[in-house]
Symmetry: C2
Subunit: 120 residues, 2 copies
């Protein structure tokens, strides 16, 4: 981060620390955990981090959420109750990823929609 001429301010650290705690958080989630960081700064920090590829913004059907872009993104979303959970195992077959069209794959995000056990 400092490499790009950006400063490691307490506010940015605080937002990053919050993002590291939990996945797919809303702006409000982050705000709640960073009460000492101004609203505008949270927006700007997220913009910056998204721009740097450190954070990814996603919409699972209920507004913007943010999470660290480091890991894979495998979400299960219940269409009934809206619950979002995660799973680790990557069901992707690398051999079947698009190729030959010059697109270089860096990472991916997978959302599986359906019904959770509770909503059966």
């Amino acid at each position: 981060m400092r490499g790009g001429g950006y400063k490691a301010t307490p506010q940015r650290m605080s937002v990053l620390r919050t993002l590291a705690k939990e996945q797919h958080q809303t702006l409000e989630d982050i705000r709640t955990q960073c009460p000492e960081v101004g609203l505008v700064t949270v927006y700007r920090t997220l913009d910056l981090l998204v721009g740097l590829g450190i954070v990814r913004r996603l919409d699972l059907g209920d507004g913007a959420r943010y999470e660290l872009a480091e890991d894979h993104h495998h979400h299960m979303i219940c269409e009934q109750c809206g619950e979002i959970s995660e799973f680790e195992q990557c069901p992707l077959d690398p051999g079947r990823l698009p190729a030959g069209d010059g697109f270089e794959v860096r990472s991916h995000s997978l959302e599986v929609y359906g019904r959770c056990a509770a909503c059966g």
Copy 2:
């Protein structure tokens, strides 16, 4: 749609027709193609369709977009220029989808991030 006690109004038909034309459109895209439909009605229609599972809302990093939920969703997003393209072949291995936890998979959405040929 009529089954659920909903009316097949011209406005709804217009929005659906627009969604059928192209994938991942923004609200403005839809508005432009449905000038005869009021802004509020577009919002309400999309909400309804999303609620019915006919349409899916997604955020590929630049705000909400909508598309028919019928098909699979395989997007390639260039992290450099933001271009969004699609590919047909599904790289998912059904055998590796999460199971045993009672979650019933209905559909899925996959976003692949990287660099497009032009941005190499």
